[in-house]
Assembly symmetry: C2
Homo-oligomer: 340 residues x 2
DNA sequence: TCAAAAAAGTTAAACGATTTAGCTTTTTAA
DNA sequence: TTAAAAAGCTAAATCGTTTAACTTTTTTGA
């Protein structure tokens, strides 16, 4: 049996399609009695309401929000920071009867969805820079997180300040310092910077973090050559392990390593311990993010805690509100046992 | 400036709308020369292709697949098992240019999306049983995972057999056994079964697992009273901690505890160790799932390993293929240090 | 009591495409 | 040379709603 349409129902009840439509969408447009009469009849004959596909076309509204994650979903979905972010987003969307479409930041284009979604939340700089452009050229609302898009509302913490502070807390004059960074250069594999040009992603948060570290280093009177800076292509355990081994086997071994994420820091910590290196005696480690696991290790990690759930909730709220203001969220320094 | 429509383009180029449409969708319907001419012109005037919302209505196809997760997204997105499943799904969808809509299993209804999605993947029994009914009544393709829906293709491992095997490996005649189960009864909080009626979710995998345990217990000649069986409402750390404390403080303390998930088992393990209980000397523990963390603990967990990524990939492939066959995936017993 | 205002419904034109059937024109086959 | 087949294109119907504009009926207030 074919699915009923609004037209069928109208014919059946001997009223116009507009009236049926109004019964569902605009109660003020008809008498209460007629409305309940219609709704009851619909239930009886098995009409569950206006077809959503048609509604989307006609109203130009789908109740679907696209969440553009920086990289392929493959990486992102299992990342603890990203997935708690998704958690926050989904919580608010749900409260507002919106639906969540996950979109990979390394996609070719947003053309596939831009016509029907109600808006975008963009989490991190999309791996494919074309997406940023496309996002900015289209007219649906966008909220960016950990990333900036000219003229669009953004949600961030002050990455530079936070990195400065955590670095400052870890550093002592004379330290030999290494930095394990994220996407600082454009390479698909983990590598030391050497003379590679820094990736110029517009207001990338990892560059902000680097700036913060450098500020602190300068203040303490330490210089770090670019070959003591690593760049991992993804915030993933695989790359973290590799980088950890590399840095710990480099001569002379650094006694402070600043990591741009907890994932990296934890892997480094584990690697160091398995090599019998004393943390924080011989090696101090700092992370970034404040994931749960970071407080369960022994010694527990020094890191910058930011609430991803909060970020997600704020992002979704901001998008739904339609306002165009940006938000700077708070963070918290957690000075743990890995810096003594 | 308003967005261009196919009609505008047709007028501009002096051809019919059908031709423009064909240029984008059915190359065989026009000459190659005309096609490139049209496509070039479109690029020039800034027409990016047919409006997707209109396409969805007209074609009845959106390239969107809804993934219904058992519970609220809030719980599910951060669950390691669920999120690796999502990873698998997203990988295959991406390869096929499909998009992923996340849908909560505790939603009121699927009416919001059923009209426009191309199909459903249902991961676990939806918290709201009405969804199962609605899923079965509608005509779009559905693939179920860790859960069965009459007449629909399903993907599972043999939960009963796997549980039987892991239990068998852990048990010795005379053991005092407890079971930490999942959603065995209908309660929003962690509780012992006592005389509560078992939840009768049609072919719930956790009941299968219980059956497997019981089979093994019977064979070894052990009986387990229902008050030594716990039921957690969610596979979440919070409930796991609570249950762990409860069971470890019960008198007489069991010396074997069978857990229906690794999350539960790991929390139990940690709790036991902090209480100074010797594992596996005084207490043997088994888990279920084979999450990564389970192999990183010391002693490492005995569990049933199943590949969630694989499950996700198979589910998506099956859905896209349109076939109606079910799949029984393989699993692997990992007999670790927690059972000695 | 009566004009004006408000309420309740209806009509018909969008929304922006796809697709079938049919009409020309060109190519092929005999 | 001509009939048949193929290619290329168009007109018009359709997908299932929403909504602006309009008509008719009811209510209101002076």
């Amino acid at each position: 049996m074919k699915k009923l349409t609004l037209k069928d129902v109208a014919k059946e009840l001997g009223v116009s399609t507009a009236t049926i439509s109004n019964a569902f969408n605009r109660p003020d447009q008809l008498s209460a009695s007629k409305r309940t009469e219609i709704l009851d009849a619909c239930k009886k004959i098995g009409y569950t309401g206006p077809n959503r596909a048609a509604q989307i076309l006609r109203k130009g509204q789908s109740n679907i929000v696209a969440l553009i994650l920086a990289d392929s979903l493959d990486y992102m979905v299992t990342d603890p920071v990203a997935s708690t972010f998704i958690q926050g987003v989904s919580r608010v969307l749900r409260e507002n009867n919106k639906h969540l479409l996950l979109y990979a930041g390394d996609s070719e284009s947003i053309a596939d969805v831009v016509d029907f979604v109600d808006g975008f939340i963009c989490y991190g700089a999309p791996r494919n820079p074309a997406l940023s452009q496309q996002l900015n050229q289209q007219s649906k609302p966008v909220v960016t997180v950990d990333f900036n898009l000219e003229g669009r509302p953004a949600i961030n913490i002050d990455n530079e300040k936070a990195s400065y502070e955590i670095a400052k807390a870890a550093l002592t004059p004379g330290d030999h310092v290494a930095i394990l960074g994220l996407r600082l250069i454009d390479s698909p594999s983990t590598c030391r910077i050497y003379d590679n040009p820094l990736l110029n992603v517009e207001s990338s948060i990892t560059h902000r973090r680097l700036d913060g570290y450098c500020e602190a280093l300068k203040e303490v009177g330490i210089t770090v050559d670019s070959d003591w800076i690593w760049s991992l292509p993804e915030n993933d355990v695989v790359y973290a392990v590799q980088a950890a081994k590399e840095v710990l086997n480099s001569q002379p071994r650094p006694n402070v390593i600043l990591c741009m994420s907890d994932i990296i820091a934890l892997e480094l910590l584990q690697c160091a311990m398995s090599m019998g290196i004393d943390v924080p005696g011989e090696l101090k480690i700092t992370g970034f993010d404040g994931i749960e696991e970071a407080s369960r290790t022994r010694p527990y990690l020094s890191t910058v805690c930011q609430s991803s759930v909060e970020k997600g909730m704020q992002a979704a709220s901001l998008l739904l509100s339609g306002e165009n203001r940006s938000l700077s969220l708070s963070y918290e320094l957690k000075l743990g046992e890995t810096i003594g």
